[in-house]
Symmetry: D2
Subunit: 358 residues, 4 copies
Amino acid sequence: MTEPTAQERSTGPTPPTNSFASDNASGVAPQVMAALAEANTGSALAYGDDDWTRRAEATLDELLGRHVETLLCWGGTGANVVGLASVLQPFQSIITVDSAHIVVDECGAPVRFSGSSLHTAPNADGKLLPDAIDEFAHWLGSEHHPQPAVVSVSQATEMGTCYSLDELAAVCDRAHAHSMRVHLDGARIANALAAADTSLATMVAQTGVDVMTLGMTKNGAMYGEAVVFLDPDLARHARFVRKQAGQLPSKARFVAAQLLALLDDDLWLHHASHANAMATLLARSTEGLEGVELVREPQVNSVFVRLPRERIEALQAWSFFWDWDLSDRLMRWMTSWATTTQDVEQFRNGVAHLLDDD
Amino acid sequence: MTEPTAQERSTGPTPPTNSFASDNASGVAPQVMAALAEANTGSALAYGDDDWTRRAEATLDELLGRHVETLLCWGGTGANVVGLASVLQPFQSIITVDSAHIVVDECGAPVRFSGSSLHTAPNADGKLLPDAIDEFAHWLGSEHHPQPAVVSVSQATEMGTCYSLDELAAVCDRAHAHSMRVHLDGARIANALAAADTSLATMVAQTGVDVMTLGMTKNGAMYGEAVVFLDPDLARHARFVRKQAGQLPSKARFVAAQLLALLDDDLWLHHASHANAMATLLARSTEGLEGVELVREPQVNSVFVRLPRERIEALQAWSFFWDWDLSDRLMRWMTSWATTTQDVEQFRNGVAHLLDDD
Amino acid sequence: MTEPTAQERSTGPTPPTNSFASDNASGVAPQVMAALAEANTGSALAYGDDDWTRRAEATLDELLGRHVETLLCWGGTGANVVGLASVLQPFQSIITVDSAHIVVDECGAPVRFSGSSLHTAPNADGKLLPDAIDEFAHWLGSEHHPQPAVVSVSQATEMGTCYSLDELAAVCDRAHAHSMRVHLDGARIANALAAADTSLATMVAQTGVDVMTLGMTKNGAMYGEAVVFLDPDLARHARFVRKQAGQLPSKARFVAAQLLALLDDDLWLHHASHANAMATLLARSTEGLEGVELVREPQVNSVFVRLPRERIEALQAWSFFWDWDLSDRLMRWMTSWATTTQDVEQFRNGVAHLLDDD
Amino acid sequence: MTEPTAQERSTGPTPPTNSFASDNASGVAPQVMAALAEANTGSALAYGDDDWTRRAEATLDELLGRHVETLLCWGGTGANVVGLASVLQPFQSIITVDSAHIVVDECGAPVRFSGSSLHTAPNADGKLLPDAIDEFAHWLGSEHHPQPAVVSVSQATEMGTCYSLDELAAVCDRAHAHSMRVHLDGARIANALAAADTSLATMVAQTGVDVMTLGMTKNGAMYGEAVVFLDPDLARHARFVRKQAGQLPSKARFVAAQLLALLDDDLWLHHASHANAMATLLARSTEGLEGVELVREPQVNSVFVRLPRERIEALQAWSFFWDWDLSDRLMRWMTSWATTTQDVEQFRNGVAHLLDDD
């Protein structure tokens, strides 16, 4: 599906400035832009041998209250690849849910690079249930079977849901009981932390996640993601894996500067809280409209709705958003750090207008 | 080798503001910073479905005088992987020189991702001689041998040399005679074009290169590289390969905006000419100094010198640069778009001072 | 699970000469042994450039009534890898059922070698339902998703069931409607053909399978499997893939001679019919025994039963067989070309004795 | 090049029964055939859980005077892949010579499966010089470079030469000094042992090889090769790697039985001595012929000669052999366990006849 051209757009109320297509359709936060400008001063050795990178690493240690290994990468798919391939042998495999980003939305990147198979369990509202791990664990030890060694979860999930600390701990406990590691895809970890009103240190300490990505781009950065190895021993191959995966940033100071800006004074969590609040506002504003069926109370920054089949195209043409499952009339509206209450109001008005159109 | 700490630095003249360590140690050009700020306006769909990307693609078509396929990527290693893997089957292989970046400096990324073997010929001042292709071409057709299908050259080379148009055409002709494709690693293509005082369109038309990378980062960008398929048919798998290689930028408008800024009014070539001129100036300024042995007249933006073994560390401590082959006392000094005549003068003074030190 | 040692064995009736552990626990058919001896005469060029291989290829063409490409390989896992990787690009993927041999029993070989992801649908008695293909087909065309390009089925399935010609045709039609190819894992294709009382030519012609393995080892050979590309165009990379996958037999005449022996006078189908008949006899002989719960009427050469949990170990110790799902008390008894009616009788007596033991 | 058809053959003296094309053009030794027949008795669990395999493993332990891990595989390419991939991480790489089988003759199998790069040094009569290791060793520790972790040598080499124990020890010492492991491709290890009149235990103990293949097929077996991990700790992933590489034999007893037959009463060494002696005889018989230029005194079972360009085709048509480097008129004649003195005499007569032909 491509963005509609001007002539495809229906007339209607003024569309919102910030679309509800995705959180990566938004731009870059002003504090991040300022940090990029500040970092643009003189020479700095490339590939992470610079002061910004050293400060970013130290800041993560501080944030988590212990020494961790932080590796800056270019993007979310690459960061997942680096995190997973660093802790896997190619004959080992990954257990996750069928809706995971690493299964559906990375064109098979983790599999091709790592050589590891992906085993998928049905998702429960986007989440992996601990019992699903057992389904594959009995393969361990026999040379005939792929050897599951990593359980991968997303927090928040692709379905806009979050694991509670207890739920996440249960997954980690089950994985660890089978000597598996837990990988957390944290492209939207800030939204999950904000929703649970907890800190990253707490979430990590109370669950036992072993390696995670820390999403920046969807939360106000221009580009860049971090991979964090909570147990530094797990990272002993990681720098080689990152380079071999094409994920070592050249002028790394500019990734580090963005991470520092986001972590400074909890900007990342403020961004996430705001995005989450805008999703709730959007749900409240639209749930009463004729034809809008709210699928689930928003937990983070997405609103899943069912819309009347015959109005979907006109609405997308007016202000674009993605369909999640067209056969089920399921649509996803997504908010971000940049969404304003005026955007929500304008969008609500357009939805009301276009659903009412015939 | 890591950058020396403050206490390791010898006293001496004021070191240059812009170091001669590498062109990716320099910062971001002001026009690029301005373009990033301008692109930061409202929403734009991610992954290249935006106006900046469409304009960048059109600009490349215009620059080359024909329709090409341009894919924006994160970094140089990734762009090489995407270009190579898009035109290779895993049982096919790559012929290049032993000094190539894809052999030496990418931690095996193209090999691991593509599954293809790399065959290396000895380099002639960084360059591949056409006869080297024949050495491997007789493997073609037999299932026992890897099947060479791509010849990869760098322009400019890792040794700071350039293929003349005739030399490059000879490589392309020999490759094509064996039905092989030619990949050009253009991390420093601008420097080569500036040195030859020719255009990209001319170089491509007169040689027959099939797929190339177009370097941005070393030439004033913050990040981002382009892969250009001169024959669009070669790109039919490329978008899938790019995504699977973790090289599809999320907020792609910011990569495109940088490319547009560099191509605007030939800024990329002005940058390259300047860097080249600074290398020549540096060679001229230092070649007469006692102990400095100029290895080769600079062709682009690097100066290769031999230095007295016992002075190397002190000089690196004063203003860092990389040793190229320590056993041979071979050092590389690298200039960039950001190097100033004052940097050259300060560096020359420091070299004079420290070589004269005892 | 390893075979019990002598001292672990309970006393009991004489166990059968040919165990019911698996069809690859049986030995080599006398006609195959004779063919190996006959082929052992003088020199023959290696790697398939020999008369036996040429005759085997011609025999397959004849058997199928058209020109096909037949490649001899070492083993079943390797043959599946060669068949799949020959028709896949690494960003493309495979749709199959969760119980498939390529998912469960090949330690991830097809995934690691091809780079392709495996998508699994729940099996219906071991079989793939056509609708499962649609679940993944909507990914086609978008660079974000793996691109399903091959549907893989097993005939007979791991569960001892067979697709009817109509069922298989329905899978092929659905796959082809999405421009996907159909791979058939035919490790036990002879058993399926015998069960359906049809010929390979008919099965292929009436369904549209594109590439298949033709199992030899489980059906009386010492080693060796064939990959058959029904459409020779699909095989244009296959010889390179086979070599690169380590599946090109050196003294290939000895694989070809076995294949010729099995195809001669329909020996492979006679073997399969016999094995199937022995499974039926075993089911009939044991279904009335106290504690034996027949799970499903045998279609080919396996009998799935549930046994009393507390007697399983003693029975395995007496005459080994594999548990299929211990938590469900599900056991698999497998017959082969070598199984005799006396083996069945002895096994039945042992089961009766040991289930009655307390 | 394919074998000439009958009508392409020139008239001439009766050609030898056993061709000099390759040692894998020969058949199977009678003792091996007998062992295969003997092993064909009743059931035996597949995949190595059988008495023959256990005896073969024990025999290797005995042969080497210590516990080693022996894994049976299908073929030579696969055995090299299993040995190498078991001791490599994908970002690590292999140092070897440009003439190595793993470089030239395995269609890139080790690279594709392991993900590891191959670095090639020029060969010195087929052999690797220790200094070549240093060329790549300075890459160790830097994430930019592939990390050389294995040095691979062939004994005997592709050029028909052998490392002396001292030469091999020097390579091992240099490799170990850089914490690299030594892999030995032993497709013709028996010929090398026979030539040096030493035992495998001595060669291993006095050099320090870490993992090796032990060739069977070229030395009288029908199929099958062994991978031997001299340090069992190195084999901790090896069984999974073997299965994932498609190299785990199903009816493994038949591979083990062949290995036992070859090791019994030193049959493998007698075979090798005989083949070596036949090569020496062939060199002696032909070196005086007009037009035959002996390139090097045979060390094992190959004779390298230069022949008059215009007679090569006629000779190959009469009794086939492979050209090694046609542009240099370099031909390889290969003997085996099956070569007879009559074969040598007949071949010598044909060469004399056909070189004298005009």
